[in-house]
C-alpha cells in the first residue's frame, strides 16, 4: 500500500506540473486542447492525492508500524477516531491532507466553471496546480509520508496525548479548509490580473468562496480556542501563541476583504486594495504554515515542527513577487473612477474598518515575528507576551466594534446631520444606557463599561435594521410581521446574514471581555470532605476514583458543586497518564452556565493525607463565545444561501448566453 501511496504523490506532482504548464501555454497560444489537458490534469491531481490519502489511511488502520509515519503517530491501542485523525496528526500527514483539500477545492472550481470564466480558468488552474505541486514536492523530495523503516517496531509511539481529544477530529480540518480555500479567490485574482478582466466578475465568482474560507477560518479559530480551553488547563482559550496568530491573521485580512468588496460593488472603488487583501490573505496562510512547520518560533503547536521552513519562505517570496508584479503591471486598469465624498459616509466607515482589521493584523504580525527579528538584529530573542497584544489590540477591537454599529446604518456618499440623528438616536441611547447600568451594577472597570456600552450600541443598530426593514415591507406590501421579516432576509441574504454574523461577533466580544476582565482564579489544597468557596459557588471535594485501561490510567476527582447552599451536580476533573508516550495530561471539568464557567483542574493528590490540590477558575460569560460561534454559523449559512436570481441563472447557464435576454 505504501508503494501505491508513493506512486500517487510522485505522479500527482508530475501531473500538477504538466497541468500548470499546459494551462498557461494553452492560454497564451489560445490552444484549446492544451487548456483541456490542463483541466484533465486538475481532475487527475485530485484523484491521485485522494488515492494517496486513502493509502495512508489504510496503512494507519492496518497499523503497519513498518511505515515510519504510522509508527510515529499511532499505536495498537489508539481508538479508531484518533487513528483516523492521525492522518493530520503529524507533519507529513498534515501536508498530504492539506494538498488533498486543495485538490478537492480545485476539482470543485473546475466543475463550477465548466462553462464560465473560460478565459480566466487556465490561469486559475495553473495557480492552484502550482500551489498543489509545491506541497507535493515537499512530500516527494523531502519528507515522504510513506517512508518505510529498516525494521518493524512491535508498537507505535502513539499520537501525542494532547491531540487525543475530540476537537482533534474537527479543529485541524476546519482550519485547513479555511486556509486552503483562500487559494481559490487568490487564483481568480491572479487570473483577473493576467487577463486584464478586472471588473466585478472575478469578485462575484469568488464571493462565496471568500465567505466559505472566512467561515472555516472562523470555525477553526473558535474550535482551536475551545480546544485550548478544555485541554491546556490554564483556564484561558487564547494565548497569542504564534500559531494561533498564524490562524488569526488571514481571518483578519479576509474579514477586511468581505467588507471592502462591497465598496467595489457599489461604488467601483478600492479595486487595488481588494486585490492586495486577497493576495495578502493567501500569503498569510502560507506564512502561517511556515510558522507552524519551521520551528523558528516556539509555540504550543510544536508537534508539527520540521526543517521545511526555508522552502515555505521561498514559496512565499515567489507568491508575493509574482502577484505584486502582476498587480503593478495592471495598476492603470485598476484606477477608480469615484472618490470618497465625505468622512461621514458608509464608504468612509468601511475604509476605516479595513484599516482597523489590517492594523490589528499588522500588530499581530509584528508581535509574532519580533522575537525572530530581534534575534537577527541584536542577537537576543525578545519575546513580546500577551500584554503587548492585549494592550494594542483592545482599543483597536473596541473601535472596530463601534464601527460595526455605525457601518450598517450610516448613509452612502455623505450622511447629513439630520439623517445621522434619525438613524443613531435609539442605538446611542441604548448604548449609553447599558454603560450606565453596567456602572450601577458595579462593573468598575473602564474598559468593561465601554465595551458593554459599545456592544449594546452595535447590537441595537443591527436590531433596528431588521425592525425598520420589516416595517417598510409591512406597510408597502401589507405583509404580516413574520412574513415581512423572512422575505426581508430572503431578498438580501448577504446583508441580513451579515447582520446575524454581527450579532454573533457581539456575543463573542462580550464573552471575551467579561471572561478576561472579571476572571477569578484560585489554587488551593483541600482535604476529602472539605469545601472551597469561589465567587458564589461552593465546591466540595468528595474523593478520588482511579481507572485503568491498557491505553491510559485515569485519576478522577469528584467535586460537588453548590450554589447558595443548593447542590447543582458533580464535576470530575482528571489527571491522565498515557502509557505509550509516557506523558501526563490534564482533563479539566467545567460547570458551564450562561453567567459563568466554573473551571476545575486537578493538580496533585496525596493519598496519605487525602489532600488534593486544585486550580479553580470562575470565567464569566465565556459560554457566550461558543454560542456566538453557533450564531455565526447560522448567519454565514444565510449569507451563502443562493438567491432566487442565482438559482435561476445557474439553471439557465447551460443556454448559450447570446440566445438569452436579461434575466
Amino acid at each position: 500500500m505504501s508503494e501505491i501511496g508513493r506512486l500517487a504523490i510522485v505522479l500527482g506532482f508530475i501531473v500538477a506540473i504538466w497541468g500548470a504548464a499546459a494551462s498557461l501555454l494553452g492560454a497564451l497560444r489560445r490552444d484549446k486542447s492544451l487548456v483541456t489537458s490542463g483541466t484533465h490534469a486538475a481532475y487527475a491531481f485530485s484523484a491521485l492525492t485522494g488515492i494517496a490519502v486513502l493509502a495512508l489511511l489504510q496503512l494507519l488502520l492496518a497499523r503497519d508500524f513498518n511505515v515510519e509515519y504510522v509508527a510515529s503517530y499511532s499505536s495498537s491501542t489508539l481508538p479508531l477516531w484518533y487513528t483516523i485523525a492521525a492522518l493530520w496528526g503529524g507533519m507529513k500527514g498534515s501536508l498530504l491532507w492539506w494538498t488533498f483539500i486543495l485538490a478537492v477545492c480545485n476539482a470543485v472550481v473546475q466543475l463550477q466553471n465548466r462553462r464560465k470564466n473560460r478565459d480566466q480558468m487556465p490561469y486559475v488552474t495553473a495557480t492552484m496546480l502550482v500551489t498543489g505541486a509545491f506541497f507535493l514536492s515537499l512530500l516527494v523530495f523531502i519528507t515522504d509520508p510513506f517512508e518505510r523503516l529498516p525494521f518493524t517496531p512491535t508498537e507505535g509511539s502513539d499520537l501525542n496525548p494532547l491531540l487525543q481529544n475530540y476537537w482533534m477530529t474537527i479543529h485541524p480540518p476546519s482550519l485547513y479548509i479555511g486556509f486552503v480555500s483562500t487559494t481559490v479567490p487568490f487564483a481568480f485574482a491572479l487570473a483577473a490580473l493576467a487577463t486584464g478582466k478586472l471588473g466585478d466578475a472575478w469578485i462575484r465568482t469568488t464571493r462565496r468562496w471568500a465567505l466559505f474560507s472566512w467561515f472555516f477560518l472562523s470555525l477553526g479559530n473558535i474550535f482551536g480556542a475551545a480546544w485550548a480551553y478544555v485541554v491546556l488547563g490554564w483556564g484561558g482559550y487564547w494565548a497569542w501563541d504564534p500559531v494561533e496568530n498564524a490562524a488569526f491573521m488571514p481571518w483578519l485580512t479576509s474579514s477586511a476583504y468581505l467588507h471592502s468588496v462591497m465598496i467595489q460593488e457599489k461604488k467601483d472603488m478600492l479595486k487595488v486594495w481588494n486585490m492586495v487583501l486577497v493576495i495578502l490573505t493567501f500569503a498569510l496562510t502560507i506564512f502561517g504554515t511556515f510558522l507552524t512547520r519551521s520551528g523558528v518560533i516556539s509555540s504550543v503547536h510544536s508537534f508539527t515542527q520540521s526543517g521545511l521552513g526555508p522552502f515555505f519562505l521561498i514559496f512565499l517570496g515567489a507568491i508575493l513577487v509574482i502577484s505584486l508584479a502582476l498587480l503593478f503591471w495592471r495598476l492603470p486598469l485598476l484606477k477608480s473612477k469615484n472618490e470618497l465624498e465625505s468622512v461621514f459616509s458608509r464608504e468612509a466607515t468601511f475604509l476605516l474598518n479595513n484599516l482597523l482589521f489590517v492594523g490589528i493584523a499588522f500588530t499581530v504580525f509584528w508581535g509574532t515575528v519580533f522575537p525572530v527579528l530581534s534575534e537577527w538584529v541584536r542577537g537576543v530573542k525578545i519575546t513580546v507576551g500577551p500584554p503587548f497584544f492585549n494592550q494594542v489590540n483592545a482599543p483597536l477591537g473596541l473601535a472596530l466594534m463601534f464601527l460595526m454599529g455605525v457601518g450598517p446604518i450610516i448613509a452612502w456618499r455623505r450622511a447629513s446631520w439630520s439623517s445621522l440623528k434619525r438613524a443613531f438616536a435609539v442605538p446611542v441611547i441604548i448604548g449609553i444606557g447599558t454603560g450606565v447600568i453596567a456602572l450601577v451594577l458595579g462593573a468598575g472597570n473602564f474598559y468593561a463599561i465601554v465595551a458593554f456600552s459599545i456592544s449594546a450600541f452595535a447590537l441595537a443598530t443591527v436590531l433596528t435594521e431588521f425592525w425598520k426593514g420589516m416595517r417598510v415591507r409591512q406597510t408597502m406590501m401589507g405583509e404580516a410581521p413574520w412574513v415581512a421579516l423572512s422575505r426581508l432576509i430572503g431578498k438580501n441574504h448577504r446583508r441580513y446574514g451579515g447582520y446575524v454574523v454581527h450579532v454573533a461577533m457581539v456575543m463573542i466580544f462580550i464573552g471575551i471581555v467579561a471572561s478576561s476582565i472579571f476572571k477569578i482564579e484560585l489554587q488551593t489544597g483541600v482535604e476529602v470532605g472539605k469545601s472551597i468557596e469561589i465567587g458564589g459557588y461552593t465546591v466540595r471535594f468528595d474523593g478520588i476514583e482511579d481507572e485503568s485501561t491498557p491505553h491510559v490510567e485515569i485519576r478522577k476527582a469528584k467535586l460537588a458543586v453548590f450554589e447558595d447552599g443548593e447542590q447543582l451536580g458533580y464535576v470530575y476533573p482528571e489527571k491522565r497518564f498515557y502509557k505509550k508516550p509516557q506523558q501526563p495530561t490534564t482533563e479539566v471539568a467545567i460547570w458551564s452556565t450562561l453567567g459563568s464557567d466554573l473551571y476545575t483542574v486537578l493538580g496533585t493528590y496525596d493519598p496519605d493525607s487525602k489532600v488534593g490540590v486544585f486550580q479553580i477558575f470562575l470565567n464569566p460569560m465565556i459560554s457566550w463565545m461558543w454560542i456566538g460561534g453557533f450564531v455565526m454559523f447560522f448567519g454565514t449559512v444565510i449569507c451563502m444561501w443562493p438567491s432566487y436570481a442565482e438559482r435561476t441563472s445557474e439553471a439557465t447557464s447551460r443556454v448559450p448566453a447570446g440566445s438569452r435576454t436579461a434575466s
Partner: protein, 147 residues
C-alpha cells in the same frame, strides 16, 4: 504482483486521461465568448443587486433622495453598459448613448430595473413584468433622474 498491476493501471489511466485532449484534438466551445458573456452577466448582476439595495435603503430612509438618484444613475450606467455589451450585435442605439453621452436611453426601450427582481421594465410601466411587484415612483423615473 497485485501492487505492480494497480500501479500500472494508475499510471496508464492518468497518462491517458491527461493526454487525451491533445490526442483527440479536443472540441470545445468558444471559450472566450462564453467567458466574456459570463463576465458581463456578473457585471450586470452586481450592479442590479446594488440598485436593489439602495432602493430599499431609500425606502427605509437610510439615504437621501438626492444621493439615491446619483448612486442609482451611476449603477444603472454600469448595468446598461454590461447589457449593451452582452447583447452586442443587436441594435441598441439607446444603450450606446448611455455609454457615450450619459443621457438616458432615447429609444422607447428600458426605463429602469425593478427594485425587487432586477428585471428591466419599459417606460411608463406600473408593475414589473418579471415578478409582478408594484414599481415605486422613484424607480419608474429610471435613468432620467440623473444628477
Amino acid at each position: 504482483m497485485g501492487v505492480t498491476l494497480i500501479g500500472l493501471i494508475i499510471v496508464a489511466a492518468s497518462a491517458i486521461y491527461v493526454a487525451w485532449p491533445l490526442l483527440s484534438g479536443a472540441e470545445a466551445d468558444d471559450a472566450s465568448e462564453i467567458s466574456e458573456a459570463s463576465a458581463l452577466e456578473k457585471e450586470k448582476d452586481s450592479a442590479l443587486d446594488a440598485i436593489r439595495e439602495i432602493d430599499f435603503d431609500l425606502r427605509v430612509g437610510k439615504i437621501s433622495e438626492e444621493d439615491h438618484a446619483a448612486l442609482r444613475a451611476d449603477l444603472e450606467k454600469r448595468a446598461l453598459k454590461a447589457l449593451a455589451e452582452l447583447e452586442e450585435g443587436a441594435t441598441e442605439p439607446g444603450l450606446q448613448a448611455v455609454e457615450g453621452g450619459g443621457e438616458g436611453p432615447k429609444s422607447d426601450g428600458a426605463a429602469g430595473f425593478c427594485p425587487s427582481c432586477g428585471n428591466q421594465f419599459k417606460k411608463g410601466a406600473s408593475f414589473c413584468a418579471g415578478c409582478g411587484e408594484k414599481l415605486p415612483k422613484s424607480a419608474r423615473g429610471g435613468t432620467r433622474r440623473r444628477a
